[in-house]
C-alpha cells in the first residue's frame, strides 16, 4: 500500500495537488470571460477567481455555528483526496465514493444551519447527486468491462481511446459535468447566475474564508472533471485537450441558452435519456 509508492509517484501527487486548484481557477476564469463575451459584455480578467479568493480570505470569519465549518473543511480535504487517489491510480469506485463524500459534506454543512435557503439548496444538491451518480458508476463499469480492473491506472493501458468504446457514456458524462459545475438548466442547488428564488442556495450561509475554502474545493472539482474529459482520449492527450475545449464550449453554450429548470425535471431527464444512453453503451460493451 503506502510503502509501494515511490518517489516519482510522490512528486506526481504533490504536483497535482498544487496544480489542480490553479487549473480549476483558470478554467473558472475562462468560463466567466467566455460567458461574458457570449452575452456581449467585456467580462472580468481571466485571473479574477484568484483575486476573489484572496479577498475572501482577508474577510472577517463569520459563521452560524462551529459544526458548519467542519463540513467545509471535510469538503475540501476529500476533494483533495480524490486528486491524490487519482494520481496514485487507485480503485475508481473508491475514488467516486470519496468524491461523493466530499459532496455530501457540503450538503450536510448546508443542512446543519437553520436557514431555509441553504436547506432547500442542500436538498436539491442531493437530488443532483441522485441524478448524476449512476452515470459516473456506469462509466467505471464500462472501464472494468474493457480492462478487467477497477484501478484508475488501468485506463492508461487501454490501446484505443475510451471515446471510441464509450461515445454514449461520454455524452451522458457531459450532462453530469454540467450538473456538477451547476450550469443551466441544471443549476438548481446554487448558481453563478443571479437567480433570485434561492439566493446562493447551498452556500448562502458561508462567508469570508469559509466560503473561500468551498471555492477552492470547487476549483479542485473543476480540474478533476476536465481531467476526466481529457482522459476520454487517453492515447493522445493533445487530442484529449481538444476534446476538452470542445466540451467546455458546449457546456457554456448550454449554460447560456437555457434558464434554470426544476429539480424534478432534472431528475426525470437524467434518469431517462442520459441513463438509458449509458445503459445502452454498457450493454453494447458487455455483449462484445
Amino acid at each position: 500500500m503506502m510503502d509501494k509508492i515511490n518517489w516519482t509517484q510522490w512528486i506526481i501527487i504533490a504536483v497535482s495537488l498544487v496544480a489542480a486548484p490553479f487549473i480549476g481557477a483558470l478554467i473558472s476564469g475562462l468560463d466567466r470571460k467566455v460567458t461574458a463575451r457570449m452575452q456581449g459584455r467585456k467580462g472580468p480578467p481571466v485571473i479574477q477567481p484568484f483575486y476573489d479568493i484572496i479577498k475572501l480570505f482577508s474577510k472577517q470569519p463569520i459563521a452560524l455555528h462551529k459544526l458548519q465549518i467542519l463540513y467545509a473543511f471535510l469538503h475540501l480535504v476529500f476533494m483533495m483526496l480524490v486528486v491524490v487517489l487519482l494520481a496514485m491510480g487507485q480503485d475508481l469506485l473508491m475514488i467516486l465514493f470519496a468524491h461523493a463524500f466530499s459532496t455530501i459534506c457540503l450538503v450536510l454543512g448546508g443542512m446543519s444551519v437553520r436557514s431555509p435557503y441553504s436547506r432547500i439548496g442542500s436538498m436539491r444538491k442531493i437530488m443532483q447527486m441522485l441524478a448524476y451518480e449512476p452515470i459516473l458508476i456506469l462509466i467505471i463499469v464500462a472501464i472494468y468491462l474493457q480492462t478487467d480492473s477497477f484501478l484508475a491506472s488501468s485506463v492508461m493501458n487501454m490501446p484505443k481511446p475510451m471515446l471510441w468504446s464509450m461515445p454514449l457514456l461520454f455524452l451522458a458524462f457531459l450532462c453530469a459535468v454540467a450538473i456538477k459545475l451547476n450550469k443551466s438548466p441544471f443549476d438548481v442547488s446554487t448558481s453563478h447566475h443571479a437567480h433570485q428564488e434561492l439566493i446562493k442556495g447551498i452556500t448562502v450561509e458561508y462567508a469570508g474564508p469559509y466560503l473561500g475554502i468551498i471555492e477552492i474545493a470547487h476549483f479542485y472539482e473543476t480540474a478533476i472533471l476536465f481531467f476526466i474529459i481529457m482522459v476520454f482520449w487517453q492515447t493522445n492527450l493533445y487530442i484529449g485537450f481538444g476534446l476538452e475545449t470542445l466540451a467546455f464550449v458546449a457546456i457554456l453554450i448550454l449554460d447560456n441558452t437555457f434558464s434554470r429548470l426544476t429539480t424534478t425535471w432534472m431528475l426525470k431527464y437524467m434518469w431517462s435519456i442520459p441513463l438509458f444512453l449509458s445503459i445502452a453503451n454498457i450493454i453494447w460493451l458487455w455483449s462484445k
Binding site: 462551529k66 467542519l70 487517489l85 436557514s115 437530488m127 451518480e133 456506469l138
Partner: protein, 652 residues
C-alpha cells in the same frame, strides 16, 4: 459423551439465556430481574467470545433424534395452540401441515427409512461470525431494554403483557438464535427456527391491542416460511436420505435448497414478505433493535449464506435468487425515501441491506461472499445502535417523525452524536458499510441487470440517509451544549455500541483482510469455476489504501481544530439569512432562546414588524412515488420471481 470446553460453551450459549429468562419471568422484584439480565448478558458475551477463539468443532448429542423431534412437535403445538386461540385459519392450516410432515418423518424413521447420521451442532467461521453478533450485540440491547422498559411500562397500555414475560422471550431469543446458527442437523435447525418465530410473535404483541394484529401477521408470514422449510427437509430425507446441512451441500439437492431459501426470505423480510417487519415497528424499540440487528432477520441471511455456496452449478436458480435480492435492495431503498417515520426508514433500510446480502449470496463469487459477510456484521452493529438512539429520541421528544428531530443536537447532544455516528457509518467512508457496498458493486459487475439495481439502490440509500442526517444535526448557535441525563443502562449500551461502530469502522479494512478474506478463501478453496480475474479483483479490493481515507479525515479535523475550533469567537456568530430581520435577532444569547431551540420554523419580521413563520420540509418524492402503490407493484414482481424460482427448481 465427554465433557469438553466446546460442549460446555455450546450448552451455555443455548441454555443460559433460557434459564435466566425463566428467572426473569418468575422474579417478583425488578432488581432481581435486572440482575439476571445483566448476568446473562455477561455470561453469553463471554461464552460467545470464547467459542470463537476455540478451534472449529463438532458435537453429537446422544438420543438427539428423539429430543429434536419432541422439541419440534412441542413448538409446532404451541404455535397451533396460539393459532386456534387467535382463530387464524391460515396459520392453523400451515401448523397442521408442519405437524403432518413431522409425523411423516417419524413414521419414515420407524419403517426402516434410514438417514445418514451426522453430528448435530458444529462451528465454522460463518457460524462464529453470527455467534459473535448474537452474543455481543444482543446482550447490549438487552441491557438497554432494562432502562427502556422502565419508562415504557409507565406509559404502556393496560393490555400490555408483564415485564417478566417480555424479558423471558427477549433473552431466550438469544439462546435460540445461538442454537440456530450452530445447528447442523436440520431437525434442530427447524426447532430453533420455529422458536425464534414464536419469540418474535410474543415480543411484537407485547403491548396488546393493535400490536396483536401485527404480531399475527408476523406469525403468519414466518409460519409460511417454516412450512416451506419442513417440506424441504422432508424432501431431503426422502430423496437424499440425509437431514443435515452437510448432506444437503454434498447431495446438491436443489429443491430443498430453494425451499430453505424461501423460508429465509420470509424471515429476512425480503420482498414480498416485508410487511411483517414493518408491522413489527409497533413493538417497544429494543424489540425492533433485536429483530433487526442481532437475531431474526440475520437468521434468514445466515441460512442463505449457509446453503448457496454449494450450488454454483445451478446458474439459473442462483440468478433468480440474486434478482430477488437486488430487487429488494433497490425497492426497499426507494420506499425508504418516501418515509418520514424514523422507524419505518430504519426498517426499509434493513430490508434493503438484507436484499443486498441475498443478492451477494446469489452471485456466489469470492468478493460477493466477503461483501455479504461484511454487510451482516457492520449492519448488525450500526442498525442496533440506530434503533437504540431512535427509541431514546422518541421517548424524549414524543415523536418518531424525522421532521420533528431538528434541534435535538442541542437538547440531547450525546444521543444525537451517537445517532450521527450510526447513520454516517451506514454510508460514509471509511466505515464498513460503504466498504461492503463497494465490494458488492464490484462483485455484480458481470451481470448488468443486477448491477443497475444495485447502483440505483445505492444512490437512493445515500439520498434517504443524508436527508435524515441533515435534519437531526440542524441547530442554532449555542455557546455550550445542554447537559443530558440518561438512564445508566441505556447510556452504557449507547456508548458501547457507538464505540463498537467507531472501532469496526476504523478497522474495517483490517477486519476484512484478517477475517472475511481468509474465511472466503476457505469457503471457495475447492471451487474451480472462479476465474483468475475474479480472484484478482478480490485481491485488489483487499489492497485498497484505506489509510488515505483516515489521513484525509485526520487532516480535516486537525486543521479544523487548529484554525477554527480554538479561535472561534461568539462575536463572529451571525443569524441565518431569512429575507428579512430575524425575529430572534435580539435574544439569541439569552437563556430563554437556548432552552426553546425549536427548529420547526424560521421566524422573521416582515412588513409592518409582523412576525412570520416559515417552514421548509425535506423532500420525500411524494409526487413521484406513492408508498402503497409502489409496494403493490414491487410485491407483484417479487411474487412472480418467487414463482419463477420454484419453477426453475422444477417444483412447479
Amino acid at each position: 459423551m465427554e465433557i469438553t470446553n466446546f460442549n460446555v460453551l455450546l450448552a451455555v450459549l443455548i441454555l443460559v439465556p433460557v434459564v435466566f429468562g425463566v428467572v426473569a419471568y418468575f422474579s417478583p422484584w425488578d432488581k432481581l430481574r435486572s440482575l439476571s439480565i445483566v448476568l446473562c448478558s455477561v455470561i453469553v458475551a463471554a461464552a460467545g467470545i470464547l467459542i470463537t477463539i476455540e478451534p472449529n468443532n463438532k458435537f453429537e448429542l446422544p438420543g438427539s433424534e428423539m429430543i429434536a423431534t419432541i422439541l419440534e412437535v412441542g413448538i409446532v403445538a404451541v404455535i397451533l395452540f396460539i393459532a386456534v386461540k387467535i382463530k387464524n385459519w391460515l396459520i392453523i392450516l400451515m401448523s397442521l401441515v408442519q405437524m403432518g410432515v413431522i409425523i411423516a418423518e417419524i413414521i419414515l424413521a420407524n419403517t426402516g427409512h434410514t438417514v445418514a447420521h451426522t453430528y448435530d451442532f458444529a462451528t465454522d467461521p460463518l457460524t462464529k461470525i453470527l455467534i459473535l453478533i448474537t452474543s455481543i450485540v444482543g446482550p447490549i440491547i438487552a441491557v438497554y431494554a432494562i432502562g427502556y422498559m422502565k419508562s415504557h411500562q409507565e406509559h404502556a397500555p393496560p393490555t400490555a403483557a408483564s415485564l417478566g414475560q417480555f424479558f423471558f422471550f427477549f433473552i431466550a431469543f438469544l439462546g435460540f438464535m445461538n442454537g440456530l446458527v450452530m445447528a447442523n442437523n436440520l431437525k434442530w435447525f427447524s426447532f430453533f427456527w420455529e422458536a425464534t418465530t414464536l419469540c418474535s410473535y410474543m415480543l411484537i404483541g407485547q403491548d396488546g391491542g393493535e400490536s396483536k394484529k401485527n404480531a399475527e401477521r408476523a406469525l403468519l408470514i414466518n409460519t409460511f416460511g417454516g412450512t416451506a422449510m419442513v417440506i424441504g427437509v422432508l424432501w431431503l430425507v426422502v430423496e437424499n436420505k440425509t437431514e443435515s446441512f452437510e448432506g444437503l451441500l454434498l447431495a446438491k439437492a436443489v429443491i430443498p435448497m430453494v425451499l430453505l431459501c424461501v423460508a429465509a426470505f420470509t424471515k429476512s423480510a425480503l420482498l414480498p414478505f416485508q410487511s411483517w417487519l414493518l408491522g413489527a415497528m409497533i413493538a417497544p424499540t429494543p424489540v425492533s433493535a433485536l429483530l433487526h440487528s442481532a437475531t431474526m432477520v440475520k437468521a434468514g441471511s445466515y441460512l442463505v449464506l449457509r446453503v448457496t455456496p454449494g450450488f454454483h452449478d445451478s446458474t439459473k436458480v442462483m440468478m433468480v435468487i440474486t434478482f430477488i435480492g437486488a430487487l429488494t435492495f433497490a425497492g426497499a431503498a426507494l420506499l425508504a425515501v418516501t418515509q418520514s417515520n424514523a422507524k419505518r426508514v430504519l426498517a426499509y433500510s434493513t430490508i434493503s441491506n438484507l436484499g443486498l446480502v441475498v443478492a451477494c449470496a446469489g452471485i456466489n463469487t469470492p468478493l460477493a461472499y466477503a461483501a455479504a459477510l461484511a454487510i451482516i456484521c457492520f449492519h448488525a452493529i450500526s442498525k442496533g445502535l440506530l434503533f437504540l438512539c431512535v427509541g431514546r429520541i422518541e421517548q424524549k421528544i414524543g415523536s418518531r417523525d424525522i421532521e420533528d428531530m431538528g434541534g435535538i443536537l442541542y437538547r440531547m447532544p450525546v444521543t444525537t452524536s451517537v445517532a450521527l455516528i450510526g447513520m454516517m457509518s451506514m454510508l460514509l467512508p471509511p466505515f464498513g458499510m460503504l466498504l461492503s457496498k463497494w465490494m458488492a458493486i464490484e462483485a455484480t459487475i458481470r451481470s448488468p441487470l443486477i448491477l443497475i439495481f444495485i447502483i440505483l439502490g445505492s444512490a437512493l440509500t445515500v439520498f434517504f440517509w443524508s436527508k435524515w442526517i441533515g435534519r437531526i444535526q440542524t441547530s442554532s448557535y449555542h455557546p455550550k451544549f445542554n447537559k443530558e441525563t440518561m438512564d445508566p443502562a441505556m447510556g452504557f449500551s449507547l456508548v458501547t455500541l457507538a464505540l463498537g461502530v467507531l472501532l469496526t469502522g476504523v478497522g474495517s479494512m483490517w477486519i476484512f483482510n484478517k477475517f472475511f478474506a481468509p474465511i472466503t478463501r476457505e469457503v471457495f478453496a475447492s471451487r474451480t469455476d472462479i476465474s483468475d480475474v475474479l480472484w484478482n479483483v478480490f485481491t485488489a479490493a483487499g489492497n485498497f489504501a484505506a489509510v488515505t481515507l483516515f489521513v484525509a479525515v485526520g487532516i480535516a479535523f486537525l486543521a479544523y481544530w487548529l484554525l477554527v475550533w480554538r479561535r472561534f469567537k461568539e462575536t463572529d456568530v451571525r443569524l441565518p439569512y431569512l429575507c428579512g430581520e430575524n425575529a430572534e435577532s435580539t435574544v439569541y444569547t439569552t437563556s430563554a432562546f437556548h432552552n426553546s431551540e425549536g427548529t420547526r420554523s424560521y421566524a422573521f419580521r416582515s412588513m409592518g414588524d409582523k412576525i412570520e413563520n416559515s417552514w421548509s420540509s425535506t423532500t420525500y418524492l411524494k409526487n413521484f412515488i406513492c408508498e402503497k402503490k409502489a409496494t403493490i407493484w414491487l410485491n407483484l414482481i417479487a411474487w412472480v420471481i418467487i414463482i419463477i424460482l420454484l419453477g426453475e427448481a422444477h417444483l412447479l
